[in-house]
């Protein structure tokens, strides 16, 4: 009788020891865990290359003239 009771209780004992995990469906690299692949981001401004200009007053005509003159000693 005791043996029969033991046989009847066996499935209950076995279920207590069961430790099956579900199958893993994600490849070895896990995006939620790999901190190594989250490198700091580089940023470049989309406005790079823009030069701001303001309206200017006329400069002194002499310096303007000199700036346009050919460089080097006059013949």
């Amino acid at each position: 009788m005791k043996l029969q009771l033991l046989v009847a209780a066996l499935p209950l004992l076995a279920s207590g020891c069961a430790a099956t995990s579900p199958r893993d469906v994600v490849a070895a690299d896990d995006p939620s865990a790999s901190l190594a692949q989250a490198s700091p981001l580089s940023y470049d401004s989309p406005l790079s290359g823009y030069t701001h200009r303001r309206p200017v007053d006329p400069k002194a005509w002499r310096s303007q003239n000199d700036a346009q003159a050919p460089q080097g000693d006059a013949p």
Binding site: R23, V25, A28, P46, Y50, R53, R54, P55, V56
Partner: protein, 484 residues
């Protein structure tokens, strides 16, 4: 023979139930072949249901191979990568598996409840007990309505198959649109950068002229602000291009080093001819997956209505079969006798006659019928819209390419001649150059709209289009948007 009788009574509920084969639902990838076929028919791409790490690694290798090369990803490749690598799609396939398991569950009989009892424990002279009672309770109503329940679960499974197919098509369509948007925004940013270069030259010249006193401050400011505004527009276009690529990256399911993939700099030119699709409305009615889902909903509510009607008055009916072995002490000897018994248990419908449940079922059917009609009307209209957008965007894009841009080019050409002849000044030449660049930008936008409309044709026929509209880009006259 007398011993067989109680055994036969005990086994009666099991014999009633019989044995059911549910091979269709119990397979590991139940229902996936139909999803895969629908996706292949609509998009021409493969789909995979990843169910273990080996599958995941195989798919990972398949995805990484094209990304590792320096070649840019075209639209077809992007769709294929998304279908293989998007984890949200895999989650949808798991939902399909759940529906299959649910249908499988419905084919299984409810386990009979068994009761064993001892009475008369401690009766003098009989040691342990006086009688043993064993009973097996089986729900007869569940057996009677089993076929309807299996039908209902099967409809649910078929609906889940269509749902998974729809999500596959949705992802394919979204990825194609995201790829077009990503490439289109790169092309727009490049065009704007060209216009910005011309504006920069004009602004620089204005500054020099201002320094000589040949240009007023207000005239200088006009040139500078035009350049500044164009720089702002270009920056926005560059940002749009970056964000559009990230949107595509999400749909492709990429992360880590895989995100450094390349995209083409421009969309393909307009095709020479269009595909004849004037039967698109009929095609959509035949093939739209979401319309088929709505039909299945109606079918399911009809089955459910019949089931409710069948169980309206009797909601629970159980048969209890069992035996009773009694021991009696007679003349100092123990006499044992076994008898069988059968009981029926049911609920008497005094207070709840099931009218409310019938009404609810009826309303569910009415709702499903109306939703189906609405869906059919929408499917027809969406198909017509998609066709209109496809044809009209092609004509508009051709108009910009063949009529507007050549005229602008001619104006710029003539402007250059008059400038060379010292009839007009530099700013007039630059203004004409800018107007031409703007016209090219409008032509590029019109081309984007055409390719988007082309990408929306398949979702209009098969389903999966969330934004079935025509072009989103605003088209305006070059003078209005860029002139100053």
């Amino acid at each position: 023979m007398t011993k067989l009788k109680p055994l036969a009574i005990l086994l009666l509920p099991l014999i009633l139930g019989g044995c059911v084969q549910a091979a269709e639902y119990s397979q590991g990838n139940a229902g996936f072949s139909s999803v895969s076929n629908t996706a292949a028919q609509a998009t021409g791409k493969n789909t995979v249901w990843i169910q273990n790490r080996r599958d995941a690694q195989a798919v990972g290798a398949q995805v990484s191979a094209p990304l590792a090369t320096d070649k840019s990803i075209d639209a077809e490749m992007a769709v294929q990568i998304a279908l293989l690598n998007n984890k949200g799609l895999q989650a949808a396939y798991a939902g399909l598996g759940e529906a299959a398991a649910q249908a499988w569950q419905s084919t299984l009989l409810a386990n009979p409840a068994v009761g064993v009892g001892l009475t008369g424990m401690g009766t003098p002279g009989l040691a342990v007990f006086k009688s043993v009672e064993g009973v097996i309770a089986t729900n007869i109503l569940a057996l009677a309505t089993r076929k309807s329940k299996i039908d209902l679960a099967d409809t649910g499974f078929r609906r889940a198959k269509l749902g998974a197919a729809l999500q596959t098509l949705q992802l394919a369509a979204d990825t194609r649109r995201a790829w077009i948007m990503a490439v289109a925004s790169r092309e727009t940013a490049a065009q704007l950068a060209q216009a910005q270069a011309a504006a920069d030259a004009a602004s620089e010249l204005a500054k020099k002229l201002g320094e000589t006193g040949a240009m007023t401050k207000s005239a200088q400011a006009r040139e500078h602000v035009f350049y500044a505004e164009l720089a702002g527009q270009t920056a926005k276009a560059r940002l749009d291009a970056r964000l559009a690529k990230e949107e595509l990256t999400r749909l492709l399911g990429l992360w880590g080093s895989d995100i450094d993939y390349q995209l083409p700099n421009r969309l393909a030119p307009l095709p020479k001819g269009l595909v004849q699709r004037d039967q698109i409305e009929a095609e959509a009615l035949q093939r739209r997956v979401d319309l088929q889902m709505a039909k299945l909903d109606l079918e399911a509510t009809a089955t459910s209505y019949k089931l409710t009607e069948a169980t309206r008055y009797v909601t629970d009916l159980e048969i209890l079969t069992g035996f009773e072995t009694e021991r009696e002490l007679e003349d100092g000897k123990t006499q044992t006798g076994t008898t069988g018994n059968i009981e029926l248990e049911f609920v008497i419908p005094i207070f709840d006659s099931g009218k409310v449940r019938m009404r609810k079922s009826e309303l569910a059917y009415m709702r499903a019928a109306n939703l189906l009609a609405e869906k059919a009307v929408n499917v027809r209209s969406e198909a017509r819209s998609a066709y209109q957008a496809y044809r009209a965007n092609y004509d508009i894009a051709r108009h910009y390419r063949n009529s507007v841009v050549p005229l602008r080019a001619r104006i710029e050409e003539q402007s250059l001649l008059t400038y060379n002849g010292m009839i007009t000044n530099t700013f007039e030449l630059l203004a004409d150059s800018r107007a031409k660049t703007n016209s090219i930008l409008l032509a590029v936008n019109a081309k984007h709209d055409f390719w988007l409309a082309e990408a929306n044709l398949v979702p209009a026929i098969y389903g999966g289009g969330s934004r079935i509209t025509g072009g989103e880009t605003e088209l305006a006259a070059a003078e209005g948007s860029g002139g100053h």
